[in-house]
């Protein structure tokens, strides 16, 4: 019983972070039909930015968010305006050019990090890094709680922006039907720049949050990119709730496997990859497809 509670609480905490991480990828794919392969590199850069702010300016990692988010938003907009927008538009599937370009950006970011911070493993040690509290009888690290709180807050803000502001509605409109958005007078290119900025800011934020939990090197982020793919395939692109649900399913699977099976944690990546493949085969529309299916059954 206690173990089951452990699993649920830990899955919940991890899901918040996973959703933040995946949303950055989802918004860019949704608006532009581009897979941001540089996502992992941006998370890594977010971690190092927080690290530098912490070591050089003694800024608390969670406080560094107020620097990281605007900085990475601006960086994302700049990256879009300088290179990404020049990619040929390819309709409904990501073009080879976009994959190559963003993979290249990832390599550049990695090498930049080697130059700036060397290849040594770094971590952030604050006064609360090793502290824990009891939540429903489960020992929970203070950083994990902070990470969950920031993730939940960012997703709530996001949900509000997407549904209550004109800009957010324009992002949804371009995601659902780009031509219709153009025909209504929406400058899809401007919205794409904003979306790329938002996606980059979310990746940076995820990097900051990850840096409070894990040690990192310039290669950091790869396995989290895989998790993010898996979550998007599960949760779809249509809603923040979908992404959150996908994140929870993945986190639950990881925690259940760790608690009840002998599968070593070093195989976690294989786990998310398996879930990705199984979802594609069994449930190509992801969890939203499941509810649609149930809906049809109930009607028919």
């Amino acid at each position: 019983m206690q173990q089951a509670l452990d699993v649920v609480v830990n899955s919940f905490l991890a899901a918040g972070l996973y959703a933040t991480m995946a949303y950055g990828l989802a918004v860019i794919y949704g608006v532009m039909r581009i897979i941001n392969l540089a996502h992992a590199g941006i998370m890594m850069l977010g971690a190092y930015t927080t690290f530098t702010l912490f070591t050089h300016f003694s800024i608390d990692p969670f406080l560094s968010i107020v620097v990281v988010v605007p900085l990475f938003f601006a960086g994302g907009v700049a990256l879009y305006r300088t290179v990404v927008r020049r990619l040929p538009r390819s309709g409904s599937t990501p073009s080879m050019e976009s994959l190559l370009l963003l993979f290249g950006v990832w390599l550049v970011l990695q090498n930049l990090a080697y130059v700036l911070w060397s290849g040594d493993t770094q971590s952030i040690l604050t006064s609360y890094t090793l502290k824990s509290v009891s939540l429903l009888g489960v020992r929970v690290g203070v950083p994990s709680l902070g990470v969950f709180g920031m993730s939940a807050l960012s997703l709530l803000v996001l949900e509000f922006v997407l549904h209550r502001t004109y800009l957010g509605k324009a992002i949804r409109a371009v995601t659902q039907n780009r031509d219709a958005a153009l025909l209504s007078g929406v400058d899809a290119d401007r919205i794409s720049a904003v979306a790329f900025g938002v996606g980059t800011a979310f990746a940076g934020l995820a990097g900051t949050l990850l840096s409070t939990l894990f040690a990192f090197t310039p290669d950091f982020g790869r396995s989290f990119l895989l998790k993010a793919f898996c979550i998007i395939v599960l949760g779809g692109l249509e809603s923040v709730t979908g992404v959150a649900a996908g994140a929870f399913v993945l986190a639950l699977l990881e925690n259940v496997t760790a608690a009840y099976t002998a599968v070593p944690t070093s195989l976690q990546d294989a786990l998310s990859f398996t879930l990705l493949v199984v979802t594609l085969v069994v449930l190509p529309q992801g969890l939203p497809g499941l509810s649609r299916l149930a809906h049809v059954r109930r009607r028919g």
Binding site: A181, L182, L183, S184, G185, E238
Partner: protein, 239 residues
């Protein structure tokens, strides 16, 4: 001066040319209908006028200004608005959100409350269903939502691509009635239709498009009596 003047337009998809040397004019206040069989190039033509496709050659003058280098979204704020083929609503957004987003441009947004009231007056069912996801509407309701969204942009020229496609006869009549009301409200209409009898009865002028070329043009009334049109589109042979 005509409100819209299309001059010698050529449009291609890659190496395949779909529109050949097409010219026509739409006068302010009128309804012009473009009729033609499936694949004649009607949608291609409207998309080009709206800016979703770039012509290979030719000019598109709206109110005397050449639009060819203006991106699609700015044409909408200029007052040239396309209600696209197959409705193209945002299925995951509510009816109200679809309509609100139609009034995206600065000028349209300033008047959106008044326009919304007009749209609801024209299509009361949209008011009833305003909180429903557009993807869950019936075909006829979706079409009304699409026309409503177009009107929210406060068009001077409304282009409609087969608004009656797939609708029941009663709904077709309703949609055509709304088009006459729209014209009465001072909006010029360019209507693409395969429902030729209805379209010719409604329109002032008409053009017939065949395999990418304008083969007949004139007053709608005259075309309705033209033996070629009667045979080809109205199912009357032998005259």
């Amino acid at each position: 001066m005509s409100l819209l003047s299309v001059e010698s337009l050529d449009v291609s998809y890659g190496n395949v040319q779909a529109v050949w040397d097409v010219s026509f004019r739409v006068e302010a206040g009128e309804i012009l209908t473009l009729v033609g069989a499936n694949g004649a190039g009607k949608t291609t033509l409207l998309k080009t006028v709206a800016g979703l496709l770039a012509p290979r050659r030719g000019r598109i003058l709206f109110d005397g200004r050449d639009l060819v280098d203006r991106p699609a979204h700015t044409r909408t704020s200029d007052g040239l608005v396309l209600v696209p083929e197959a409705r193209q609503l945002w299925p995951g957004m509510t009816v109200l959100e679809n309509l609100e987003m139609g009034a995206w441009g600065k000028r349209a947004r300033a008047e959106s409350a008044r326009t919304l009231a007009e749209v609801f007056a024209m299509f009361p069912v949209l008011e009833e269903r305003h909180a429903q996801k557009a993807g869950t509407l019936s075909g006829g309701e979706q079409q009304m939502c699409a026309i409503g969204r177009g009107l929210m942009a406060r068009p001077r020229l409304l282009l409609l691509d087969e608004p009656a496609l797939g609708l029941s006869p009663r709904l077709v009549r309703e949609v055509f009635a709304s088009l006459s009301a729209i014209r009465k409200a001072g909006v010029t209409v360019l209507l693409v239709e395969q429902n030729v009898a209805h379209a010719l009865a409604l329109a002032d002028h008409a053009c017939v498009l065949e395999t990418g070329r304008v083969t007949l043009a004139g007053r709608a009334q005259d075309l309705a009596g033209d033996p070629r049109v009667r045979e080809e589109f109205l199912g009357v042979s032998g005259v």
